[in-house]
């Protein structure tokens, strides 16, 4: 990061989120050892105003937990979250609730994330009512304006979620997230549940809204093609760690970390010319309850060395504005 840049909208330092399993009463009585799941393992990153940071990784790598901890939908275990210059890591819930006007989330599943008993007007208008920002008469106008922004009509106001297709439901979810004029929006796999043609419509909509409303996105997806098209920068997660982060183009065209390489080479490509040599991974994602020693990726890495089994690599500068955590790169830099 260069010093001319404005201060980040979101700055996350050494964020940790630990879940304690087996600590129910029965387990305590039976003296079972508690099991610790470190879903987010001392992660640091920042997001500039107006930027889209893409977050990729396999299921279970902690990307959703990270995003939700940033919004304090989950309480962080340690570390700090600074939003627009204000440390929000430990602020009281009432204060956090007020701040949520500026931090919103779009969920993955447009079926499960809308209350089936509420009409579109109630769903989209609820944030306005909760935060007391719109008066009774004004509320409907603002909901209508928002619906039109996301490509729905005022005639949809009285309808219920089951009367809409998956793509339309996702538009309702987007309207609900944006009606308070937030500056920061977490998009948690917003298109994964949709058919490809609908997916493209929603991606286009999110892009338009971002430009028109000056939004900043933290965009989570396991679809690397989607991330490549929406993000300015990309962070790659593996078992709770960010293993590589950098500008989209550089990272996707010339990945440095072996995991990023493997992930990219596994994406099926439609044109034969652009297929990459497959970096084959063996085995499955290890259990996050018992992450491997040293570098967590060493059990699947085709280039694992002795040092990888002993020591965890740290994120280091790797080219312009990019960071990667890999012993192999450190050796290359030293040479």
């Amino acid at each position: 990061m260069t010093h001319q840049e404005p201060p980040p909208l979101l700055d996350v330092r050494n964020l940790e989120k630990v879940y304690h399993l087996n600590d129910g009463l029965l387990q305590r009585v039976m003296r079972e050892p508690p099991r610790v799941l470190r879903a987010v393992d001392y992660v640091s990153f920042s997001v500039q105003p107006g930027e889209t940071l893409g977050l990729i990784g396999e299921s279970g790598c902690g990307k959703s937990t990270l995003a939700r901890t940033v919004l304090r939908l989950h309480e962080p275990t340690s570390g700090s979250i600074v939003f627009d210059g204000k440390d929000i890591t430990r602020i009281p819930l009432a204060e956090m609730t007020a701040l949520r006007r500026r931090m919103q989330i779009i969920f993955q599943d447009p079926y499960a994330s809308l209350n089936p008993r509420k009409s579109v007007e109630q769903i989209v208008g609820l944030p306005l009512a909760l935060h007391g920002v719109a008066k009774r008469g004004e509320l409907r106008d603002r909901v209508v304006a928002m619906l039109e922004n996301v490509g729905l009509k005022s005639g949809h106001l009285g309808r219920y979620p089951h009367q809409f297709s998956g793509g339309q439901r996702q538009r309702i979810g987007i309207a609900r997230a944006l009606i308070l004029n937030p500056s920061f929006v977490v998009c948690d796999e917003p298109v994964s549940a949709l058919d490809v043609s609908v997916q493209a419509q929603i991606i286009a909509l999110l892009g338009t809204l971002k430009r028109e409303l000056g939004l900043t996105y933290l965009f989570i997806s396991h679809d690397i093609g989607v991330i490549g098209h929406v993000s300015d920068r990309v962070a790659v997660m593996y078992l709770g760690d960010i293993v590589e982060i950098g500008p989209t183009r550089a990272l996707l065209n010339a990945p440095s970390h072996p995991y990023t390489k493997a992930l990219l080479s596994a994406v099926p490509q439609i044109d034969a010319g652009s297929r990459r040599e497959r970096v084959k991974l063996t085995g499955d994602l290890p259990s996050p309850l018992a992450p491997p020693s040293g570098c967590k990726f060493h059990t699947r890495c085709p280039f694992a060395m002795d040092v990888c089994r002993r020591e965890a690599p740290v994120l280091r500068k790797n080219g312009r504005d990019a960071l990667a955590a890999c012993h192999l790169l450190e050796i290359e830099h030293a040479a």
């Binding site: 396999e58 299921s59 297709s165 793509g167 058919d195 490809v196 043609s197 997916q199 493209a200 419509q201 991606i203 286009a204 396991h222 679809d223 690397i224 093609g225 989607v226 490549g228 098209h229 989209t248 183009r249 996707l252 493997a262 992930l263 990219l264 080479s265 596994a266 994406v267 099926p268 490509q269 439609i270 044109d271 034969a272 010319g273 652009s274 297929r275 497959r278 084959k280 991974l281 085995g283 499955d284 994602l285």
Partner: protein, 339 residues
């Protein structure tokens, strides 16, 4: 062997031949024709890709092939021939002899497709005991177990011998999909129907599973039908492809040719909306509009409402027409040179 088509051409008789298939489901809103006039051939040893969005009829087509359409749904018209036999006249005993032995299918969601109350070993051995003719009559289960271990190793389950007595929920998503493939391939079927085998999986595991299917296809010389919504998967793994839209095949041809020179506007649309890693600046062009309701269709091109190229003449039933070598499209403008 019954030849379903004249052998005037040099092509061998297809392993599976579907003609004019029409599968309907009565609903409260009316009769839904989920598959409407599908013609398809699968040649021995080939991998055919079936692409389409939800509701395009791709899964229902192959559920019809292996007799999994539940009443009140029914096959209304058409013929299905497999390896010389007419599948529409098969009795329950005939189905039992065919399914699992000659045709096998893997389902999209391995967790719901596998029986949660049986161990993996029991589920594989069940198929082998029922179908494998070369197993000895005595100690049949023990022999089946030995072969099950072999199959699990083949699909890459680590420590197969000790893990096969575990239940499906004890395996990860990728491993469950492999187990289902092991069950499907246990009796070396002539045809494997893989319905979205990797949709629920992460890309690195997806690549492992698809490579495995391709390797086993070459090894056993079987035919594979790969049902997917992902054109990238089709491009990398299939020989031929059929694109389905609203219950019909709208374009079919050799994979490479079809992807390089798509002739139907829907196929072009599908290709245009794939985010490409190779060209991050290429915009993703959405296809505007929605898939039509499958009730009471007919008398028009089904894609017409979303098509930028539509003409008044599109308001009629459009037949498939040849547009290249073994390449056909259901569009009156398929032959034109369009940008």
């Amino acid at each position: 062997m019954l030849l379903t088509r004249s052998s005037a051409t040099d092509r061998p008789a297809p392993l599976l031949s579907i003609r004019g298939l029409k599968t309907c489901f009565p609903t409260r809103a009316g009769l839904v024709t989920a598959v409407d006039g599908v013609d398809l051939d699968v040649q021995p040893g080939e991998c055919l890709g079936i692409v389409g969005e939800s509701g395009s009829g791709k899964s229902v087509t192959f559920a019809s092939v292996i007799g999994l359409i539940r009443p009140p749904g029914r096959i209304a018209e058409g013929s299905i021939h497999f390896d010389g036999a007419d599948l529409r006249t098969l009795d329950p005993g005939g189905w039992r002899r065919l399914r699992g032995r000659d045709i096998a299918m893997t389902m999209q969601d391995a967790l719901t497709a596998l029986n949660p109350a049986l161990t993996v070993a029991e589920q594989i051995c069940e198929v082998l005991v029922a179908h494998a003719q070369d197993l000895p009559r005595r100690n049949r289960w023990r022999a089946a177990r030995a072969r099950a271990i072999e199959m699990l190793r083949l699909v890459g389950i680590p420590a197969a011998e000790s893990r096969m007595d575990d239940y499906p929920h004890q395996f990860s998503g990728g491993m469950r999909q492999r187990i289902m493939i092991a069950i499907a391939l246990a009796c070396r079927p002539k045809l494997l129907i893989a319905d979205e085998p990797t949709t629920a999986l992460d890309v690195t595991i997806q690549a492992q599973v698809l490579d495995l299917i391709s390797d086993l296809r070459r090894e056993f010389g079987m035919s594979v039908v790969l049902i997917t919504h992902d054109l990238g998967v089709v491009a990398e793994h299939t020989d031929r492809v059929a694109v389905m839209y609203a219950g019909q095949i709208v374009e079919t041809g050799p994979t490479r040719d079809l992807i390089a020179h798509p002739r139907h506007p829907y196929t072009r649309g599908l290709i245009g909306l794939i985010p490409r890693l190779s060209d991050l600046d290429a915009p993703i062009k959405p296809i505007e509009g929605q898939v039509p309701d499958l009730i009471g269709l007919g008398g028009t091109c089904r894609f017409a409402d979303r098509c930028e190229l539509r003409l008044p003449e599109c308001r009629q039933d459009i037949p498939m027409r040849p547009v290249g070598a073994a390449h056909e499209a259901r569009c009156i403008r398929a032959g034109e040179d369009l940008p």
